[in-house]
């Protein structure tokens, strides 16, 4: 399959010994000049890159409190060193969260602190060199910004923030990653990550309507650009066709249908994902999000609901109100925005859906908490609702549910290995190795409880697992959407 070895799943997870330089050469393709320029970055490495990088670092230090606080506060206690799935899977010490931070911290110290200016050797401060820049490019693209390390750090130091800053600096000197930057460009020009234009989207949705009709005999609608609909659904564009995503979309449609609530997609804002967050660019993140506000106003909807997507939900839940709020034009009786799981859960609570759990009897299900939902957002009105609500939804539609081991789910959930802008073939080795801890936990419930399927609520998780499951001797269709389970169990037609 590839020129690297898939790590071995052991009976008990082990903290590996470090192997320096294990992933040193690994890095994603560099963005082409036209992709860089579309986002307002220089096309290629600028001549005075050192100066630009240091200036940019100074700029960011003044804009984000997290940076000076995190860079100053780390005591090198080591508590985070065994918490990153990329370290556990690759054994490269620079993939330990604190070491990843140190790549930036040692330059910060050299140029911005008294100790680093006058006693660099003592505090491990170094000049910004070509080599350091290469390390940044390599190791800031071996972090999925999953925030697992921040849960376990005594000061909440979030390496994701450092990685975002690192990528911002890299973009500022002209070497961005192809994958993220090209995709953001597509959103600006076409409206979604996949570059799927409006007419193609319409065709696809019509096709889905036909399939559902054929399957169930019921006219379930998958509308787009319908003015005056009650709900605007913002969902990752992967939901429009790829397996297993599209079965989730089919599920959302069935839920709306049964709830009797009019809804629509938007061809202008046909993307929930917001890769602006991955590259730490506030401006790009805002520009991507603004399309959604515009679409909501244009279509005159009363509510915005977000489909299954992890970091999209983070941006929507945590950032939208700041970036594109206030949402005073929406119906104040509903949270703005609302997650599709919150919506379905509400209907289930009210008894508004007729569910036939036995439709899922051929499945034994576990649930993968997506990192950005788990550690960077919430559902419902109490802390931790993001863990309870999707599980309650699954249990309401499915008789066989088993959780994976404590410490690998909930706030301690392991990232799928493909988040944060790493979901690209040029980083396959990082993705496969980073999936090790999740695969280990999955293997455990498969052996213990005969689990057949892992459900998730994130387009990146689903794509990533479909790709890496086979490396660990699972099959690619063992990953499914939560709303596929829901869709299969919903009894269409008048309420019985």
């Amino acid at each position: 399959m590839a020129d690297f070895e898939t790590p071995e799943i052991r009976e008990y997870p082990l903290i590996p010994h470090i192997h320096e330089g294990a992933m040193a050469g690994t890095k994603p393709f560099v963005a082409k000049p036209e992709h860089q320029k579309a986002l307002g970055f220089p096309g290629e490495l600028v001549e005075n890159w050192k100066e630009v990088a240091i200036d940019k670092m100074g700029d960011l230090l003044g804009k984000y409190r997290s940076l000076p606080v995190f860079l100053d506060s780390c005591v090198k206690c080591g508590a985070c060193t065994d918490k990153c799935h990329y370290f556990l899977g690759t054994t490269d010490p620079k993939n330990m969260p604190v070491a990843r931070q140190d790549l930036l911290r040692k330059v910060y110290r050299r140029y911005f602190t008294f100790a680093g200016k006058y006693f660099p050797k003592l505090v491990g401060a170094v000049d910004l060199t070509e080599e350091v820049l290469q390390d940044w490019y390599s190791y800031y693209h071996q972090c999925s910004e999953c925030r697992r390390c921040s849960v376990y750090c005594p000061y909440g130091i979030d390496t994701a923030e450092i990685t975002m800053a690192g990528r911002e600096i890299l973009d500022a000197v002209g070497i961005g990653a192809k994958y993220s930057n090209e995709i953001i460009g597509k959103v600006f020009t076409v409206g979604n990550n996949l570059g799927l234009p409006g007419p193609a989207l319409k065709d696809t949705l019509e096709g889905i309507e036909e399939d559902v009709k054929e399957d169930t005999g019921v006219d379930v609608r998958y509308p787009v650009d319908e003015k005056g609909a009650e709900v605007l659904l913002i969902t990752p564009s992967a939901d429009f066709f790829a397996e297993p995503h599209v079965d989730g979309l089919i599920g959302y449609g069935k839920v709306f249908h049964q709830a009797g609530i009019s809804w629509t997609l938007s061809s202008y804002a046909s993307e929930a994902a917001n890769f602006g967050i991955f590259i730490g660019s506030y401006e790009n993140m805002k520009r991507v999000a603004m399309r959604i506000r515009e679409a909501a106003l244009d279509l005159g909807v009363k509510r915005i609901i977000v489909g299954e997507c992890g970091h999209a939900w983070r941006v929507a839940y945590s950032f939208w109100n700041t970036l594109i709020g206030p949402f005073d034009f929406l119906d104040p009786r509903y949270p703005a925005p609302q997650h599709i799981c919150e919506f379905t859960y509400d209907l289930i609570q009210r008894g508004a859906l007729t569910l036939d759990k036995s439709a899922n009897d051929h499945r034994v299900v576990t649930f993968h908490d997506s990192c950005n939902v788990a550690r960077a957002s919430r559902m419902g009105n109490m802390p931790g609702g993001q863990f309870i609500i999707p599980r309650e939804v699954i249990k309401a539609v499915c008789n066989n549910f088993y959780d994976m081991e404590e410490g690998t789910i909930g706030e301690g959930t392991f990232c799928c290995g493909g988040g944060g802008g790493l979901l690209t073939d040029d980083l396959m080795e990082v993705r496969v190795k980073g999936a090790l801890p999740r695969m280990q936990a999955l293997r455990h419930v498969v052996e213990e409880h005969g689990v057949t399927h892992m459900a998730a609520i994130c387009a990146i998780c689903k794509t990533q697992f479909a790709k890496v499951l086979p490396y660990y001797n699972f099959s690619m269709d063992q990953i499914i959407s939560v709303h596929q389970l829901v869709g299969d169990a919903v009894v269409l037609g008048a309420k019985q």
Partner: protein, 246 residues
């Protein structure tokens, strides 16, 4: 007044100045730098009281560290708790008459020295024996532990082996506080102890010892999880033209 007493008096004024101004400047920097986005590590409290409890738990019990690594927690918490006891016990040199509770903790404070040393040695051991921690340790990380161990060690030698003249020392300290200087007992152990303490005060604002104030300013820990209910706005971020329509 002998030269040594004057030198130590000046060093302590200088160290106090550096500590107060240095840490003060850092706190002002942290407080003035905006946190443009809501980034609490969730599940996070949804109220201000909840956040106060979260931070309180981190300061008093090191809750996150407890979740993450029991060895570091045991050694680290032991060290900090004993350090706190030591500092409180030392208040007797700075106040007259000595508060009743400072008198009460004197015997515990005395033995806290052992706890401090055990904690520090445990933490230091990790820097040699755990390959991951060895990898991330800079010379300054070792030196900080050495410094604290030397402070504790010199203190313990005075307490348990070779006493110093505590009465004159207290006169010296109160003299510093009230501005009529008194001579300092020229005891080598005491001079070492005090010299190292002054060094600790001076490096504080320039080192990782900023983790104390840092924790309180950490946005992942001190933000309320209420972005949908309350629009979070900060100067530079919101100026970029939000809410153009509607």
């Amino acid at each position: 007044m002998d030269f040594l007493s004057i030198a130590y008096a000046l060093v302590f004024y200088f160290a106090t100045f550096v500590l107060v101004v240095g840490v003060g400047r850092k706190i002002v920097q942290y407080a003035r730098t905006p946190a443009p986005l809501k980034i609490p590590t969730t599940p996070a409290p949804t109220t201000g009281t909840g956040v106060a409890l979260r931070l309180g738990g981190e300061v008093v019990f090191f809750t996150s560290l407890f979740k993450s690594n029991k060895w570091i927690w045991v050694f680290g918490w032991l060290f900090h708790f004993c350090l706190l006891l030591e500092v409180l016990r030392h208040l007797r040199y700075f106040i007259q008459p000595v508060w009743w509770w400072v008198a009460l903790i004197q015997p515990f404070g005395k033995y806290a020295a052992y706890g401090m040393v055990i904690g520090l040695l445990g933490l230091w051991g990790r820097r040699f024996f755990v390959d991951r921690v060895r990898y991330i340790s800079a010379p300054s990380d070792h030196l900080m532990l050495v410094l604290l161990l030397a402070i504790a060690g010199s203190g313990m030698l005075m307490t348990f082996v070779d006493h110093t003249d505590i009465i004159s020392l207290k006169a010296f300290v109160l003299g510093l506080l009230y501005g009529h200087w008194q001579p300092l007992p020229a005891d080598p152990l005491l001079l070492i102890h005090l010299g190292l303490v002054a060094a600790l005060m001076i490096v504080f604002p320039f080192s990782k010892l900023l983790h104390g104030p840092g924790l309180l300013f950490s946005p992942t820990r001190n933000q309320i999880d209420n972005p949908r209910e309350k629009r979070h706005v900060t100067p530079w971020a919101t100026d970029t033209g939000a809410g153009t329509a509607g």
